[in-house]
């Protein structure tokens, strides 16, 4: 039961991403060609709504269900890791058309070849974990 709410959130998220077409390889390609506002509209309104919700929760000191003030994990300061890691991610995102959320969602739509991408992504994460101390951050 404890996990039921997370299952429901996941289902909701999966439905939204399919119905918005954000899981489509074609939409990602179109976005990187700047030939449609669609994806920019999605990301823009998501961030805009997110900013408002976060500011409101701060303003009204809304507490989370665990009784402490709502908070977002703070990302460490840095430049290289974000720019370089982000660029590598972008290369893969544009090629496969799927970031880590849509990967799973697309399996649900019946694209089982996506499991290959997921396995490769798990291996990529593993490889990062192995060599991370040798990378500039």
């Amino acid at each position: 039961m404890k996990y039921l709410k997370f299952l429901v959130i996941g289902i909701f998220f999966g439905i939204v991403l399919v119905k918005s077409e954000a899981v489509s390889w074609y939409r990602i390609y179109e976005m990187f060609r700047f030939e449609s506002f669609h994806m920019y509209g999605i990301i823009g309104t998501a961030v805009g709504t997110g900013i408002i919700l976060m500011l409101l929760s701060k303003q009204f000191k809304i507490k989370n269900t665990e009784g402490s003030l709502m908070h977002v994990p703070t990302k460490e300061r840095g430049l290289i890791r974000y720019l370089l890691g982000g660029s590598l991610f972008g290369l893969g995102w544009a090629l496969s058309g799927a970031c880590p959320g849509p990967m799973y969602i697309l399996v649900g739509t019946g694209v089982f070849s996506m499991l290959i991408v997921i396995l490769a992504a798990i291996f990529g994460t593993y490889f990062y974990g192995v060599i991370k101390d040798k990378l500039p951050h």
Binding site: F6, K19, I28, G92, C99, G108, G110, G124
Partner: protein, 185 residues
Amino acid sequence: MESILQPWPWYISGPLIALTMFILIYLGKTFGMSSNLRTFCAIIGAGKKTEFFDFDWKSQKWNLTVVLGAVIGGFIAHFWLSNPVDIALNPDTVEHLSQLGFDNAGKSLLPSELYSWDAVFSIKGLSILIIGGFLVGFGTRYAGGCTSGHAITGLSSLQRPSLIAVIGFFIGGLIMVHLLFPLIF
């Protein structure tokens, strides 16, 4: 009901994604899909040799449950909540894709040129999926987050590292689409 079966406009979808993030934060969690890739590594025992994966993966069961839900949500949306309708792509995009050898752009969510079993069982097709997946998995952990963690959560909480990461996402994406696609396809 009819409007649910049609594709949803961006001004509906975007706020609903923000709502997903907000509910997770309200429940004391966070909105980060790529963390699950690290959790999978921990589950299969990568923590024995590599410190980065040496954590109690059971603490992440909630996020794995979100993933399970997302798969189910994908099924529900695709098979029960969608009329068969083409993706309304820009005709210029469709034209460019056809020049690269992608026919039927927008007739399905993903191009059969990459994701059909015929494509998967060719050296080139398989390489594309493996390299693409690897870059996503490696890059997201190096950058400390993906579209959900940086582009949505990080930007919503006005964090500079996330802005840099999102700029990185676009540098990579633009290089791939504009410089590498003509060489690959």
